[in-house]
Amino acid sequence: MSLIVALALTLLLGLLGSRFTGRLVRPEDGALYRAVLGLFAGCLVFHAAMVLLDAAGIPWSRLSLFAALVPVGLLAHALLPRAPERVTQPLDAGGWGRWGWGDNLALFALLAFALFSLALWIVMPDFVYHWGVKGARFFYDRSIDYAYLSRGWNWPINPDYPTMLAEIYASVALFAGRFDESAMMLIGVVWVAAMLVTVRETLRQAGAERFVRQAAIAVVALSVATFGLGHIMGGAADWMIVLALIAALPPLLAPLSRTTDLQIGLVGAFAAASKTEGVVLAAFLILVQLARHALPRVWREPGWLWRESWKTGLRLGLPAAAVVLPWLAAVRFQHLYHPLKSGPFDWERAAVIGPALLRVFQIDSWHQIPWCLVLVPLLWLDRRVRPVAAVVTLQALFYLYVYFTAQADVEYLVLTSGPRLLLHLVPAVLTLGAVAFRWKSPVI
C-alpha cells in the first residue's frame, strides 16, 4: 500500500508540475524530459505548500494538502499556457529514439538498484541518521518541527539542511497512514530513474549517434548502480543533486534562450531545495548561464549588462531565491545553524586531503570509475560542453574548499563524504564525454 502511495504521489506531483511548465519547455524537448521538468515544478509547488501551511500553523493532513494543492493546480491549468507541441527531429525519424540494447542494460541496472533499495538492504546510513528521522518526526508532528530540529543534542540530524525531501517522506507517510521505509526508498529510485531518462534525452538532443547513445546510457546506469549497491546509497538525498546536475545538461548545451534560462532556474530551485550542496550547485548553474549571456556581449554590447542582465538574472535566480530565502530565514530565526561547520582556509591540510582523496578515488565500491573526472580539463576544450564543464569544475572546487575549511577531522571527513560527493559529478562527466563524442550535426 505504501509503495503505491509513494508512486502515486510522485505521479501526482509530476502532473501538478506539468501545469506550470508551459513556458519552460522547448518544442525539441522529449516527453520524458518534459515529465522530469514537471516533477521538479511539482516538488517545488508541493514544498511551497508545506512551508506555507507550516508557517500558517495549519497541521499537515490529507485534507489540508489537498486544499492547498488542488486549487493551485486547477488555477495553473486554467491560466497558464500549455507546453508547445513536440517537434519530431530528423534524428528521431532515423530511429534515434528507439529502445536499444543500452537501454535494456540501463533498465536492468535500475531494477537491481530498485530491488535492493526496496528490500532495505542498501539503505544509506544518512537515511537513518537524518533524512528518515526528520521525515518520521515531521509525519508525527504534522509540521516542520523546528523545536525538535533546534535541540542541542539533535545536531547529528543536520538541522540546517533544506527540508523538501523530509516533507516528501512525511507526506507519503501521511497518505499511507504509516512511515514505511520501502516507500521512502521508492522515492529515491524515482530520482535515479528520472536521472537516467534525462541522460538519454541529453544524448538524443546532442545528436549522439546510436551506438554512442546506447553505450553511454548503459555506462552511466551501470556506474551509478554499481556505486549505489556497493556504497549502499538507497534513499540518499544525493541522487537529487545528481539528477539536478544532469537535468541542467540539455539547457546548458542548447543555444541561449528565454526558455533555457527558465529551465536552469527551475533546476536550480530543485537543487537548492534538496540539500545544502544543491544550494551551491544552484548558484553555479545560474552563474554559468549568466556568464554565457554576458561574456559574448561585454565588448559588443556593453549596455546589455545594465539594461538587460537583471531580467536574465531574475529569470534564472528567482525560483532558487524563492526556495533559499525562506530556508535561510528558518535557519537564522529557528537557530538551526551549526556554528562549528566552517573555519579559516588552511593550506596545510593539503598534505592530508591529497592522500585521502587518492584513497577515495580508489575505494572498492567505485571500481576506479571516478578517474573519468580527469576528462574534465579536456571537456573545457570543447566549446559546446564548456558551460557544463565549468559547473562541474566549480562544484568540485567548492567541495575542496569545504575540506580546507571545515572544522572537523579532515581525513575522516574526506573518506566518509568524498565517495558520495564524487557521485554528484561522475554521471554528468560520463554523459558529457559521450556528448563530446558526437560525430553528426547536433539537434540543439
Partner: protein, 141 residues
C-alpha cells in the same frame, strides 16, 4: 573504430563492476540474519538491528509519545554508542531521544533506556522488563 573500442572497453569495465557488486549484494542479503556488524555499518534486517528494535518496541509500549528519553549503550570501536543512539532516535521519532552523556539529559530525561551497560543511579526506578535492554523511569526530587 577506436572510439567504439574505447566505449566498448568502458562498458565492459562498468558491467563487470556492476556484476561484482550485484554478487556481493546478493551474498550479503542472503546471510543478513547472521551479520554482526559494528553499529556504524548496521543495516535493516540484521541481527543487531532486530535486537535493538525488540527493545524499542517494548519501550514504545511503556513510554508515552512526546517523552524525553535518555539512552546509553556501551562505547566501542567506531563510535558504537553514537551510531546506536542514531538508530534509537530514528526508531522513536515520537520521542525526544537524548544521549545520556549530554548535559541536557540530567535536566530533561524522564526515562532511561540502558542498552547493556548496567548503568546505576539512585534516581532511576526500574520499569517492567523489556527485551534486550532495561527501561527506567527517572524520579525527580
Amino acid at each position: 573504430m577506436p572510439r567504439k573500442l574505447i566505449l566498448g572497453l568502458a562498458l565492459a569495465w562498468c558491467l563487470q563492476a556492476f556484476l561484482s557488486e550485484l554478487s556481493l549484494g546478493l551474498g550479503g542479503y542472503d546471510t543478513r540474519r547472521e551479520h554482526q556488524m559494528t553499529p556504524a555499518f548496521w543495516r535493516f534486517g540484521t541481527a543487531p538491528v532486530r535486537q535493538l528494535e525488540q527493545c524499542l518496541a517494548d519501550v514504545r509500549a511503556n513510554v508515552p509519545p512526546g517523552s524525553f528519553v535518555a539512552f546509553t549503550s556501551p562505547s566501542g570501536a567506531g563510535q558504537a554508542d553514537f551510531f546506536r543512539l542514531r538508530w534509537v532516535a530514528y526508531r522513536l521519532p515520537e520521542m525526544e531521544v537524548i544521549p545520556l552523556y549530554s548535559p541536557s539529559a540530567a535536566q530533561y530525561a524522564q526515562y532511561l533506556i540502558d542498552y547493556r551497560t548496567g548503568f546505576q543511579h539512585s534516581l532511576l526506578e526500574p520499569m517492567r522488563p523489556v527485551r534486550n535492554c532495561k527501561l527506567y523511569r527517572v524520579r525527580r526530587p
